[in-house]
Amino acid sequence: MFLVSDQTEFDDCLIDLCTLSLGKINHFSFQILALSVLIELFKHNRNRTHLFALTNETDFFQYIIAYLWEYLNEDYTCDFHKKSTMILANLELILPMNLCENLISKQLSFVDIYQTQNYLQTIDDYKRFFQLWNRTRQFSCSFQQPLIQVLSSLKQTNQNCIKNIIHEWITHCFIRGDICRIFDILLLMLLHSDTTRIPIRQYNSSTEQDSTSNSNVDHEMTFALVFDDDELEDENQGENEIEPEETDDGKQVKNKNENVFFSF
């Protein structure tokens, strides 16, 4: 047992997974697997105290998010982008106080976009965010703050280059039929909360729950699995076709078999 704070004991398995997740092990797939299990453990009520110990007393997740953010760089392959995105989206969902979103938002706002020497870094960061945004369509996390950050820089920056990549990205969102996600966030900020739209699936499952309140919880589990892996794969491929920066450089070694590592 190891004490992270005065009260919270970490068992051997948790320590192993934390160590594999954080260490520079040079084996991406092992790291992602360890992180996936860790996230799943933290979703459990009995491990919530461990999660809070790590977030309140350490920078554990800051380091994890930092290297996952690095993997969204164009130099890494599609597999890195895809898996890093999934982990970031899950971290966004489980971490308290929007830790993940805040860090990304801060990263996007950090560079003084009026200074010429920094704009390359800014473009790089923006592209990473576009990766993240495009691939988190099926998640309920919004990454709202960073999105606002990006959109507001359309007005703030005088760098045409930055404006251009944002325009280009929004056009792509429009072509993919993804523009509603952006509008949703903007409208939510502008409209009264009573007018909020909720997804039809969520509405259905909530009425289902009301009418069968005594039924087995397992019942809901069968409805939760409406996702089709192939569909996702196709969508991502579609994205790659649209985004020239991904297909042109030839770095995208896409291995279908390797990517479906949680489809059971």
């Binding site: 051997d12 260490g23 299990v37 453990l41 979703k43 920078d59 690095e70 589990m221 892996d229």
Partner: protein, 313 residues
């Protein structure tokens, strides 16, 4: 060979209480292997391929085999299998002339038969206990297992877990592509399904009560298995242990900063404290570790009664 076994077991199952128990332990395992190789597998292949007519002898032998299973105490069968599984897994130098792969195949076969033949209740009520016992055995021996052996064990656990995880409300509607999808057909299908479910309801309710207890216990054992797996296969134990490495990490990460991601990443890159060298042969454990993690996530999502988002990967 099959004929000989048939004779022995007809003798045994009819009325020879003084002969049966004495010989069964010594020949049952070989009998099961023969059944698997010469009867179960061929029949399974036939059912996949409609062109071939099932072998008559194989069919009859299967019948005899099922009758025999019915006469045996369910406890005896799974206990017998587990004992042999333990012997093979823990004691690699054992005198038993059977591989881990074979015993796994046999267990898969018996699970399959016990679930598809409602008359045989040989394993279904003992599955949760067997699940736990398998885990304990695996925990004891994981240090000495090869990657492919780990996968075999995980597949077995996965199969048992899948059959534990019976969902009583599950009605999967599969629209057929044929033209005769009339309402009558659909209704008939639904009635059949409901009837089948009602008949299994009581068993399932009973199962689900004991199941969550076993699942919780199994998660704890499985955590130990995962720990042993990582500790013995991933790193050189003579050089360091993960706990002291984490302590090293902790001394850095407990200093909370308010920096942006670039700065944190730069520090992460430059600091040699975060270096963690895994064994050179780590790649060969890729798929076994992957399976182990998947299975763990399945346990956890079952236990928390919520579908894991990671399943969308």
């Amino acid at each position: 060979m099959i004929r000989n076994y048939r004779k022995i077991f007809v003798l045994f199952s009819v009325d020879k209480p003084d002969v049966g128990p004495n010989i069964i332990e010594s020949i049952f395992l070989n009998y099961l292997i023969t059944i698997y190789e010469h009867v179960y597998q061929p029949l399974k292949n036939v059912s996949k391929d409609d062109d071939h007519q099932p072998d008559k002898i194989a069919k009859e032998t299967m019948k005899t085999f099922l009758t025999l299973l019915d006469t045996l105490e369910p406890y005896f069968i799974w206990d017998y299998l587990m004992k042999n599984f333990e012997l093979i897994l823990v004691n690699t130098q054992s005198t038993i002339d059977i591989t881990l792969e074979q015993i796994c195949e046999i267990i898969h076969m018996l699970i399959d038969l016990s679930l598809s033949n409602s008359s045989i209740d040989l394993l279904s009520e003992h599955l949760p206990e067997m699940f736990c016992r398998l885990m304990k055995t695996m925990h004891k021996s994981i240090e000495f297992l090869q990657p492919n052996q780990i996968i075999l064990c995980l597949e077995l656990l996965s199969n048992i877990f899948q059959n534990l995880n019976l969902n009583p409300t599950e009605i999967d509607y599969n629209p057929t592509t044929d033209d005769d999808t009339t309402i009558e057909c659909l209704l008939k299908e639904m009635v059949e399904k409901v009837n089948k479910q009602l008949s299994n309801q009581s068993i399932r309710n009973q199962l689900s009560r004991t199941m969550s207890h076993y699942i919780d216990e199994s998660i704890e054992i499985y955590k130990d298995i995962l720990h042993c797996f990582i500790e013995t296969k991933f790193i050189d134990r003579n050089q360091m242990n993960l706990k002291s490495k984490f302590q090293q990490f902790h001394s850095i990460i407990q200093v909370k900063t308010n920096e942006n991601l670039s700065k944190i990443f730069n520090r992460y890159q430059q600091s040699s404290e975060f270096d963690l060298k895994l064994n050179d042969n780590i790649e060969q454990y890729q798929s076994s570790f992957e399976q182990a993690c998947k299975l763990f996530i399945r346990f956890l999502s079952f236990s928390s009664k919520s579908m894991s988002i990671l399943l969308f990967f």
